[in-house]
């Protein structure tokens, strides 16, 4: 049993209106000091075996085919 994390973020050149809306709201709520916000997705995958290289390769394939749309998104895979 292992937990693997896949983080998926929009590529930097793609507009992120959600992140922007949050960044715009912050000063209105009295928060200063944040210059930009980007919003992405985080997936927690529980594996039924150990998070060895083979398993991680499999998760990378899952991320590339399903969890991220690589036309607009980048992803990273890591063990927690």
């Amino acid at each position: 049993m292992a937990r693997v994390i896949v983080d998926v973020m929009l590529k930097p050149e793609i507009l992120d209106p959600q992140g922007q809306a949050i960044a715009r709201a912050l000063p209105r709520l009295g928060f200063s000091g944040v210059t930009s916000v980007r919003q992405g997705k985080r997936f927690e995958l529980e594996l039924d075996g150990p998070a060895d290289e083979a398993a991680l390769a499999e998760v990378r394939k899952i991320a590339a085919t399903l969890l991220a749309n690589t036309v607009i998104e980048d992803f990273t895979v890591r063990v927690e």
């Binding site: 929009l10 050149e13 507009l15 209106p17 959600q18 399903l66 749309n69 036309v71 607009i72």
Partner: protein
């Protein structure tokens, strides 16, 4: 009724399949229901991927449906020239399946929008738009939360240069790049658009226009002449 048979695909969570079938029937063709789990296109002459929330639109719109058995048949057939139309969720699926370039992302206004939308028909050389006149302004309903078309600059330039933008918004509802509402592949057989032509074919119901009919008469003409 002509002999033309237009497949209408139902995924789990597809919503506008009944409307799509009705619009096909009104145009004089025969709608053929296609089931996501069947690796079978039933010999149809063209395919309509209707709107909805396939697989709940979880993860990303169209991300899960694109891997269904019927798509495994459809993707190669479409590459070989089978006419395919995707509206709304269908457009999203076509992009996820890489049959069309780019992606559809969260509306810039961050809200779902249902409204009657003015559009301009930019390309009447596709099999789905030949019945329109170039530059014609039409009204079709839109109803989506993730319709903002994005692609990298080269792709956008490519689309513009080769007249592959088929529909453009007049009054951009979602922040799409270049006001893009619909695009086509290189050969004009595959078209994807966010608006809903199937909701604009009857006097009594749907949007206050009959402009959606153009889509269905176009494909029928193409199939009858083919």
């Amino acid at each position: 009724m002509s002999g033309a048979r237009v497949g209408v695909v139902t995924f789990p969570g597809t919503l506008d399949d009944q409307d799509a079938a009705r619009a096909v029937r009104h145009a004089g063709a025969t709608p053929v229901p296609l089931w996501h789990a069947d690796r079978d296109l039933k010999g149809v002459d063209a395919v309509f991927l209707p709107g909805g929330f396939s697989y709940g639109d979880y993860l990303r719109c169209g991300a899960i449906s694109r891997f269904s058995p019927v798509m495994e048949e459809l993707i190669p057939a479409a590459r070989k020239g089978l006419p395919v139309l995707g509206t709304c969720n269908g457009f999203q699926i076509l992009c996820e399946a890489h049959l069309l370039p780019g992606a559809l992302t969260r509306n810039a206004g961050l809200r779902y929008v249902c409204r009657d939308q003015r559009l301009r028909v930019e390309n009447t050389a596709t099999v789905w738009t030949s019945a329109f006149s170039p530059g014609q302004e039409i009204v079709l309903p839109i109803k989506h939360g993730e319709g903002r078309y994005v692609a990298d600059p080269e792709t956008i330039a490519e689309l513009e240069a080769n007249n592959r933008v088929v529909f453009r918004y007049l009054g951009n509802p979602n922040g799409s790049l270049n006001d893009i509402a619909g695009i086509t592949n290189e050969t004009g057989t595959i078209v994807g658009l966010m608006p809903h032509p199937e909701h604009a074919v009857e006097e009594l119901t749907g949007a206050p226009s009959l402009d959606g009919r153009g889509i269905f008469t176009s494909i029928l003409k193409h199939l009858v002449n083919a």
